[in-house]
Symmetry: D2
Amino acid sequence: MEDVLETTPGWLSRDELEQARAQMPILYVEAVPVRVDESGEVTGIGLLLRIASDGTVSRALVSGRVLHHERVRDALVRHLEKDLGPVALPRVPASPQPFTVAEYFPTPGVTPYHDPRQHAVALAYIVPVSGDCRPRQDALDLVWFTPEEAASPLVQQEMQGGQGVLLKQALAHVGRLL
Amino acid sequence: MEDVLETTPGWLSRDELEQARAQMPILYVEAVPVRVDESGEVTGIGLLLRIASDGTVSRALVSGRVLHHERVRDALVRHLEKDLGPVALPRVPASPQPFTVAEYFPTPGVTPYHDPRQHAVALAYIVPVSGDCRPRQDALDLVWFTPEEAASPLVQQEMQGGQGVLLKQALAHVGRLL
Amino acid sequence: MEDVLETTPGWLSRDELEQARAQMPILYVEAVPVRVDESGEVTGIGLLLRIASDGTVSRALVSGRVLHHERVRDALVRHLEKDLGPVALPRVPASPQPFTVAEYFPTPGVTPYHDPRQHAVALAYIVPVSGDCRPRQDALDLVWFTPEEAASPLVQQEMQGGQGVLLKQALAHVGRLL
Amino acid sequence: MEDVLETTPGWLSRDELEQARAQMPILYVEAVPVRVDESGEVTGIGLLLRIASDGTVSRALVSGRVLHHERVRDALVRHLEKDLGPVALPRVPASPQPFTVAEYFPTPGVTPYHDPRQHAVALAYIVPVSGDCRPRQDALDLVWFTPEEAASPLVQQEMQGGQGVLLKQALAHVGRLL
């Protein structure tokens, strides 16, 4: 890789994050929380329920930024714990290979994914969780759906920015999209 | 994803890139150029030959940043064309799923990959090329190796920052690491 | 693997194939022929058109058995040439990793895939083809669809045994299932 | 798929298995048992220790046939339980996508894998196990190795038929092959 620059590690202030978002793709991880049976087959999909300030109901996957000097798998653990609580017992995959890469563009239509704030590139993983999920922070609740329900128009239309597409890709990857 | 910010697309000046590198992971793509036979089996691996200002010889994979508002596959095409020339005829994969994700840390030892300048996260792809490769820019030459040669200590020790490890992962992925 | 037996390579007669099908899973390969643009993005899906003796129209992926002492990639080349003709220029993937494994059971409902004749396990691959496709043998024609058309109910209902599901999995894998 | 035959499900006698092995590829599953830490990173690899009748020591992955009318994931569970005991708590992957496909040929040199008895095609999976492993049947013991040890010449030379190559592919897939 090209030239060598002096760098000082650090964190982003709100202004700096805003500036960075205008200038480069921001690395995200996204996790599809699933319940599996003894043979590993997916039996349920967990979606976060969010209610916006205008009362709009939406459902979301676990998602968040990878920080400077943070490994992708540590970012996954951190966001899963933040969104599902401390006793969800998520099983982060052994392989760093994501099942897909979702590219959220600020301009709609470039890809199936859209984020008005930024160009975000998300590494997406299926994460079985075997423990008790107790969402915190801004998530109101975690609701489990069957694979059939998760792919249904009803659930799909409650997902934003293309996360419904990503969810269907996850279902296809585990052989549960009919 | 959290709050919504107003952003203005733009490019990074040298100073801004330096600043960003100190504050967030930088998204890269890496490509392993390969020759394949009629049945798709890998018969050759293309490595860029670089000679540093101090005369050190090193071999490298095709690698570079993903820019703001650029798709991953467009970044791959751009860097392949930059490094292999305009008539290499690279076959960028149909799927966005990389064969692995290489996390280059400024601190050695966190992962097998190391980049003193920055925390870079690279999506890695195998890219068959069928055309004529004519390296430009800072690459002196492109040399083709057999899978056996590419995994040999001689070639491995000429690769830097853990790219030799990434090359072996690529060989394993195509079933050509013995 | 357990004990060592003396074996003599050979081919299956009709009776022997029938007997084998009643007793063990039969290994298949399946290929989803696609057209891609310069950046590797899938722009078209090729489906074989078949008309059964009762006049029923059906559309199918490229599919067939792996023979004794035949490599998976050679089986792919053979079936692609058989179904798409000699100048289709298929690009069999460099990696043996299939995008999924489709398990066709003689009993409906065990998996999304069903084959009344046998228990077939198919390794499924995306195969870009850049040449001219001229179907032979029992296929009447090869028709190209956009990703949107391929996932539509109209096309899906013309596919049998769960191949429509497999097609949607392929579209999801290449990021083209909306 | 071609014609429709009447079939009767059943099991193979020793003679029938011998006959089938001479005539078609036999479908196998192979599992690489691993220990993972909280972030999913592989910390240990479990290898079965076997002592042949001539006293030769060998190490092996979990491996076995897929039976007629048995799902791949059920075959994985069955062979893992057979080789690791009933309380190993294996986590069979949610996705049917294997990390690679290993093709064992009766003729050495066609691929890196060799099985003098048969042409076997194995779907290979990484399987985290969190419980207590108590090998039974013909396995004497299960020994845990670090990723570095597993890739070392010492361990590699105790593996047969190319399983050492498959083990290195597994290590590469989880980012633990240096």
